[in-house]
Symmetry: C2
Subunit: 107 residues, 2 copies
């Protein structure tokens, strides 16, 4: 138990994405595989909505806005976007945030 880090972080995103019907798991696998090693990324959390069966929530924390923007040019991310796009029905929510407090437990 216990928390190994408490930090201040400057740029975040929270989004609710809808997959094409029945394609959520496939889309999540593509997103998870393509976002594992992004410079400047502190948190990239993918979660299924418990009730909305095609919905995916993504919570991101980055060192700064530039790191987030640069990630969109990474080959692994571009590949994930290309593979994932046909499986995305749309975005219900996509907001920029300023993360101000994070408790992350390690392990």
């Amino acid at each position: 138990g216990g928390f190994a880090m408490e930090d201040q972080v400057p740029f975040g995103m929270i989004g609710k994405m809808k997959a094409q019907p029945g394609k959520r798991a496939e889309l999540i696998a593509i997103l998870a595989a393509g976002t594992g090693t992004m410079p400047g990324c502190r948190v990239y959390l993918i979660a299924e909505d418990a009730k909305d069966t095609d919905a995916i929530w993504i919570t991101e924390v980055w060192d700064d806005a530039a790191s987030h923007k640069a990630s969109l040019e990474l080959p692994t991310v571009r590949e994930a976007i290309a593979k994932g796009r046909p499986l995305i029905a749309g975005f219900e929510i996509s907001v920029e945030t300023k993360p101000v407090s994070s408790h992350l437990r390690h392990g």
Copy 2:
């Protein structure tokens, strides 16, 4: 750089809370202080909405639903709820999630 953990996690929450006008910073300070040491909590991330000046986003990941439920009885959490409640205008979003992929960078 680099990611020190990639893990599967079973219970999550994402919420959008509205503070009373002008009370966001005060409410965040109360929430951050009261949620630092919660058993079973893997992620507790507080972020300001970049455009909605009274809005706060909270992303939570827990070992399981029982850990989340038990946290509501912790003295520090009960105190935060009691102190924070008068500063909360309402909840625009409060959804349960199943976290399926998390990249957390440490340090």
